[in-house]
């Protein structure tokens, strides 16, 4: 699936594909033409992707073929032992979690689960978690604390699920509780935004010692569409809102929210999933190694300081 701004690339790609097919079937040799087109593809790619704006980044971050939590788990973990239930009401599928062995490191992984098929998406509510999901996540994080396991939290959600039942069972309370309890976890917490970091639904599992972002992911207080509807009174002004909200990885590093950007292949993570996952693994392991050396007290203090510095007011 090509995004709007990727149309020029798609055209070149389809012509290369046609020529390759011809190459096989006919006697005529199109190798020169193919080589030329491939060169053109590279230069056009560079041009197209070098000037993509925040709104295009949003499109990439939401790309249906973008790697999801289960892709990262499959690519990075020799073992994933999923754990279920909030011990109170249910087993939400908007957030999943469990023990994992990530390149030799035993960790607790939690994260939003989106789907690739309609069926998967309905089961996981399109990655929009319910209170049971946030409570399950906190249960698993408390278990990680008991077992002294580092926590890796994968964020990829449009937001917490806005439903009647979710409100009735305390969406607000569940997120608030997590923000509070995550702040005093005595183990390393690594947060990585891999796609959409949607508002309270994201931060609800997003309080970490270190916050990482994939280069084409976004993290925002409100969706660009929602912001445009409210502040521009026109949902179609989402691109303007996306720019104004400063939601890209670069912006967030500049604002002191994100500690490190994990570069994606040209065109986005979905164009080379294996390479993306490898990069994520490398960066996670680097931080795991570093954070595992820190005492519980230092981890808690460092995490507190990290957040108390955000928005620290300096007298002008």
């Amino acid at each position: 699936m090509a995004l709007d701004f990727e149309k020029p690339l798609e055209e070149i790609e389809s012509r290369i594909g046609e020529l390759k097919k011809l190459n096989e079937k006919s006697d005529v040799d199109f190798d020169t033409e193919i080589a030329a087109l491939e060169k053109k593809l590279r230069s056009t790619s560079k041009r197209v992707y070098s000037k993509i704006g925040p709104w295009e980044t949003v499109q990439i971050a939401r790309h249906p073929e973008r790697p999801l939590l289960r892709d990262y788990i499959q690519g990075l973990c020799t073992e994933f032992l999923e754990l279920h239930g909030d011990r109170c009401f249910g087993d939400d599928q908007g957030i999943i979690g469990g023990f994992a062995t990530l390149r030799q490191h035993r960790v607790m992984i939690i994260g939003h689960q989106k789907g690739k098929t309609v069926e998967e998406n309905i089961k996981a509510n399109f990655g929009m978690a319910s209170p049971d999901g946030y409570r399950k996540a906190m249960r698993l994080m408390n278990l990680a604390a008991k077992y002294k396991l580092p926590i890796v939290s994968f964020i990829d959600t449009p937001g917490a699920y806005p439903g009647l039942e979710a409100e009735a069972r305390g969406q607000a309370e569940a997120i608030a509780r997590n923000l509070t309890d995550m702040s005093t976890l005595p183990v390393p917490v690594i947060v990585i935004v891999t796609g959409e970091g949607g508002s309270g639904g994201a931060i609800g599992i997003g309080v970490g010692n270190v916050v990482l972002m994939l280069s084409n992911s976004v993290y925002s207080v409100i969706s660009p569409e929602g912001c445009a509807t409210i502040l521009w009174r026109d949902g179609s002004k989402a691109p303007e809102a996306a720019a104004a909200l400063k939601i890209t990885a670069d912006d967030l590093v500049a604002l002191g929210i994100v500690d490190e950007i994990i570069p994606e292949p040209v065109g986005g993570a979905h164009r080379n999933m294996d390479a993306t996952i490898e990069s994520v693994g490398d960066v996670l392991v680097k931080h795991l190694r570093r954070l595992k050396k820190m005492s519980a007290k230092r981890l808690i203090d460092q995490r507190y300081d990290k957040y108390s510095k955000i928005g620290r007011y300096k007298k002008k």
């Binding site: 917490a160 699920y161 806005p162 439903g163 009647l164 979710a166 409100e167 009735a168 069972r169 305390g170 969406q171 607000a172 309370e173 997120i175 608030a176 509780r177 923000l179 509070t180 309890d181 995550m182 702040s183 005093t184 508002s199 309270g200 931060i203 609800g204 997003g206 309080v207 993290y219 925002s220 207080v221 409100i222 912001c227 409210i230 502040l231 521009w232 009174r233 026109d234 002004k237 303007e240 809102a241 104004a244 909200l245 400063k246 939601i247 967030l252 604002l255 929210i257 995490r303 507190y304 957040y307 108390s308 955000i310 928005g311 620290r312 007011y313 007298k315």
Partner: protein, 277 residues
């Protein structure tokens, strides 16, 4: 009491005569004098109208004991944000001029029936009581201040949620303030949350929901997601009492609904149980 004299100016804007106030909930006509004397609570339907942070302070804090804290903190513009109506900076400046406030929360300490407390009082007049970097900073600094003195900490919330003009910085204030609350819990310092109309979005999903005791004013709107967003998502009409204080009490998230006129006494009673032993 000072507070209802001060608020006379505001009434002129919302009332259609100099003599009467129209209740925004039941449309009853109330003598302005009765309305003010009744703390802007409708004598017919018990609707609790929104009031300012200074009005709330004067209602709750013993006269002469208030000291503002973190008063120097004002709005920031970390994104250099601009929307269809212009720069956020100008909007913030206008809010300051209009309200005489520097941020959406008033912070300080004082006494409630002789018991020292730290307090943060959100003010819906200031950009819808939105949670911003300045607001989060004031609440966090005041919570830390309360922790150092072992004073009970009370937040009165009134907010539409995070201030989107400050983008991710405002979202992060949810984590920042909750971490400060966690430290109070570790210290055994009481933290009480009073939820007033409205307490929604990121404020409901952070400090407002986390009181040792959660107290709400009657009929206050309290919820995470907006009513319209939910109706669009689930394609159903929501019950009338949805996201009211009464609904939240029934669903286990609120300890008590307290009338405005009884709030000071109620807080004082609760504080007796949190006294250091």
């Amino acid at each position: 009491m000072a507070w209802f004299r001060k608020s006379g100016r505001k009434q002129l804007e919302t009332s259609d005569s100099d003599l009467w106030t129209i209740c925004p909930s039941c449309s009853a006509h109330i003598y302005k004098q009765e309305w003010e004397a009744g703390l802007k609570v409708c004598p017919k339907c018990n609707h609790h109208a929104r009031i300012s942070s200074t009005e709330r302070r004067d209602l709750l804090i013993d006269s002469g004991t208030w000291r503002e804290y973190a008063a120097h903190v004002t709005t920031s513009d970390p994104l250099l944000f601009s929307d269809a109506k212009g720069p956020y900076k100008e909007k913030a400046a206008a809010a300051k001029t209009k309200t005489g406030l520097k941020e959406s929360v008033l912070t300080g300490d004082g006494k409630i029936g002789g018991i020292p407390v730290s307090m943060a009082i959100m003010d819906f007049r200031f950009l819808g009581g939105s949670l911003s970097s300045g607001c989060g900073e004031k609440i966090t600094l005041t919570a830390e201040h309360a922790g150092r003195h072992r004073w009970p900490f009370i937040i009165l919330s009134a907010s539409g949620g995070a201030r989107m003009h400050e983008g991710i910085i405002s979202l992060m204030q949810m984590a920042k303030t909750c971490a400060a609350i966690a430290r109070l819990n570790d210290l055994g310092v009481p933290y009480l949350s009073v939820l007033t109309d409205p307490t929604t979005g990121g404020v409901s999903a952070s400090y407002a929901m986390l009181g040792d005791i959660n107290i709400a004013e009657p009929h206050a709107l309290i919820g995470f997601a907006g009513r319209r967003v939910i109706e669009q998502t689930i394609k159903q009409k929501l019950p009338d009492d949805f996201q009211t204080a009464e609904y939240l009490l029934e669903h286990g998230f609120i300890d008590h609904i307290v009338n405005r006129k009884d709030m000071k006494e109620f807080l004082h009673r609760v504080l007796q149980y949190g006294k250091r032993r």
